[in-house]
Symmetry: D2
Subunit: 319 residues, 4 copies
């Protein structure tokens, strides 16, 4: 926002009023007038409050680049479950990869007992190395669906390529776009065409604006609803795998009232931090959590080191 | 930690057991044997649990570089107030800069009413520009001390140069080393010589190990106790001023049981995020919060845009 | 690499010898022996030199995760042009987006005159916003091909989705994987199947290892050769759009002898820095440059602000 | 810069003209008018060129925060040596720490033979751990001075605390402020009072503006001249210790014509990258290089792993 001041005598008064509202401003001067540029890291305030400051001549705005995301109301509905500010927090749990029909069925039963509403698990796995296990693919979609149905859960699972979008969307209630694909626009478009709600994980170095624009792609191309998922950004400290950005979560969840869930498992990579960071995420304004769980982490085909036993799910909602 | 395996036939069994404990491992091979290097972002586990795995030949450790910090027990005592895991959370509040005796006295009265135990405020201000207000200096130390005493509070305030250490330490109960001075070793040494507890704010791009080592400097040179303060690391998103690293807080507070407080005001720079991030910090394992408050933020001599009204302090401890 | 020392009396001698070789080491101790872990930011040295140090008992290595990339020799051949250490530097130039047949033809003529060997230009454009120009698509591929052929150039252009891989590979001599798709494994696989050389741009926060592994995906699935392209990583300073990582370029180009080109246009986003950074890239060890050029930047459909006039291409190769 | 357009019909024309100049702009609208905010990562252009665009009503600027740094002309003089744009590049070399009088004398002789003009070496060492070697202190200042004088070199060395400023400034021709102390304002002030030229190393996560402001502190408090030194910012890739920001160097050196030297030794930490990165730095616009050299790196008291043999200095200036 750029606030233009009527006459330069008003400028210090206007500046004080802007700061009092919680805005950070930088002063610009042209030959005759003063303007204040409001920095992005300012509190969200009503434009009317700025216009009402005596001495303000005009308030110029940048049009939002994501009108559909802005217009999405909260909570959203995903197969009958409400998610977002205004609804109670939702637990999503399950293994990194779907490993067998028996595994996923038993896990579904266990996580349901501890309050989870969504079963997660990868049928298609994006793996950094071509030599790693890449997921069981299509059969795993069926295992997931049946396990979820048997235990009263919904399904969230990731899609990796446009050609798989129809079958993933058929099996899932919520289709996940992974962090590495946040700006895979061909995939966003293909998924959106399936008309299922989409969960967009934040890219490892994506700005909040880029993240919201990925959601805008989904709504623009036909998705009925979008959930955002924070999973940590690239940090520099080796003690945690990523740097969980709960400031972004508070901004989306508390200030902008958007549905945002947090994946503390990937965020830190440490089993001993999943519970405190999950609880912190809810306190910050997350509308749900995505938790990796496994019955026998030592034998997990991927990411066992960060998986929790299902019993620990009861630590999140009732602190 | 490096885990050496007796014979290579044991290696897959040992690897599973390490993952089951929550460790991330990389496999190394020499001519005859397999070793696993445990990554830093692994769960903290007892060395005995690793040694007990059948097939493990030896477990090699890196000696800790900060034995005094490791040996500090929690909670610590600061002028009669307990801070750290094992003690209730502590609120520290006050203005960015001490602006006048009247200001600080009224603020002290108000924050005390809302549960704060420490009065904060800068007598000496580290400012990015030489043309900005640099603090009222020595007189402000007296104003702070008297205001705190009158209202039953303790004082935490920042020191900027070795020559000021004696007078700051005399006025303060807890001496703050600011983020920009975390590796100003001459200052750490001078402050430590004063024998007062020290609060070390994390540098804007400091690793956790560097942060703990700054604390080690303080204990090594005579400080009786060290508190750590997370205030956000350098991020890349313009919507928040810094990126609050609650993973580091959970690691220090929950896993390592060290006293760590969080400054959500500097972390995000946005008044509308201070409350949710402060509550998230406590959920993550912080032992206290440092909150900027001001009676008239528009007239603050620095950082008014992020200051809260004192009344909002009651949002943190009783959610 | 983990270096195990015969007896602890040898350890200080071995440590000095390792440092003399340019290695950074951390000391680990188990009950009876000392090992040194060599940090990743150490100079590349022959394993034999380490084994030859008196007192060394064994040297353990992590197997490389990208054997095919390691085995690729340099320079590689792309439609008759040699690229990589051992060959002269190669200029690739052209507009951000292919805007019309006339535009691309005239640009091809101009850049050829200034020494470029490859014509670049996007037929499919990955755009942060769904409302931005997304490229002219298939027709633009034909325009590119014909312009290049008429002026003796080769074609490098980006592919965005697996379904387009055949037609892009038919039109291009070198198929570009954009930064946002570096870990779009479905796309890497689809492109590799076309059996054309692939240029993999580094993701905005990708580690070097992740980048090399993206190349490994290509070779594993059938690509005949892989070129890497550095285009800047996410930084924190607003004065440049990204942070060009010439340390990574020197490592790949000079130490590891891999073909790596640099895109200084995207790296900095500033027209006034493209020439100095392009020349610095060649000095660091880049085997080529990718330069955005436009005849009328004010009318460019994307990124005109960073495009150079074709005449400036003569600044790069003849300093 | 904010560019206000006379009437909204002019806006697309003005926008094209701004892009043609190499500016990145964002469009703002108030009730009746359009303004363009020019992003910081735009090419530097003369304000007159913007004012001359038909349809532009006014151009508003932010006053510079560092007028003294802006007014410093280049090259500057340091004890008779010219440094900065307009002067030939200057080599500064020597050990991380001054270890003995004999060591520094022999090194001085060797580096002088290979074209160095400044002898560097730490008498006071800022060390991450209190248990590491902290430098020989005052005696080492004398060794440095005498060695430099004997071999026709100038001295650059670091100061760590305000109380040492007089004696360091007496021994040195150029006083170094280390990366960790870039915002140690008490130190900047104390050094400036000594009236010697100052070299300000960039903090590990400092923005360019913060760096220039550190220089402004020096000039404001009396330093006769300021040189900037880039030594790498905090990165995320373990293969290099820091991320050398040659974009910042090109900006300062080529666009803004300020004296900036580069320390490739600390930037990468790898002996095998020092030469290519040093040469790249000069190509980018650096006015000098700071190179760690040692006669017997295995026995260096600090940072031997990155030190070059003095003979390698001839690789930088005559590529």
């Amino acid at each position: 926002v750029i606030v233009r001041v009527k006459s330069s005598e008003d400028s210090s008064h206007v500046q004080r009023a802007l700061v009092a509202l919680g805005l950070w401003v930088e002063r610009f001067e042209d030959d005759s007038q003063v303007s204040f540029l409001v920095a992005a890291h300012s509190s969200a305030v009503e434009e009317a409050a700025v216009r009402a400051i005596p001495g303000v001549e005009s308030v110029a705005r940048r049009p939002s680049l994501h009108p559909r995301i802005d217009a999405q109301s909260s909570p959203i509905d995903i197969a009958g479950i409400s998610l977002g500010p205004g609804a109670p927090p939702v637990l999503m749990a399950g293994p990194c990869a779907v490993e067998s029909e028996a595994q996923i069925d038993e896990l579904a039963q266990r996580i349901a007992r501890y309050g989870a509403r969504f079963l997660r698990g990868g049928a298609y796995k994006p793996r950094t190395s071509p030599y790693s296990f890449q997921g069981h693919g299509e059969p795993a979609l069926g295992w997931l669906r049946r396990a979820a149905d048997r235990h009263g859960l919904k399904v969230v699972t990731e899609v990796l390529e446009p050609g798989d979008a129809p079958r993933v969307a058929e099996a899932a209630d919520l289709v996940q776009i992974g962090s590495r694909n946040m700006q895979n626009f061909a995939l966003l478009k293909a998924v959106a065409h399936e008309r299922k709600p989409v969960m967009v994980k934040r890219g490892v170095a994506a700005t909040i604006e880029e993240w919201l624009l990925a959601g805008e792609y989904c709504l623009f191309h036909g998705a009925p609803a979008v959930v955002f998922c924070e999973r940590g950004v690239r940090g520099f400290d080796p003690s945690t795998r990523n740097l969980l950005d709960l400031g972004a979560v508070a901004l989306l969840g508390q200030v902008q009232k958007r549905p945002v869930v947090v994946d503390p498992s990937h965020a830190c990579g440490r089993r001993d931090l999943v519970v405190p960071l999950g609880r912190a995420a809810l306190a910050a304004g997350a509308s749900g959590l995505l938790i990796e769980t496994h019955l026998d982490p030592g034998r997990a085909l991927s990411d066992g080191s960060q998986a929790l036993a299902p019993e620990l799910l009861d630590q999140f909602l009732d602190p």
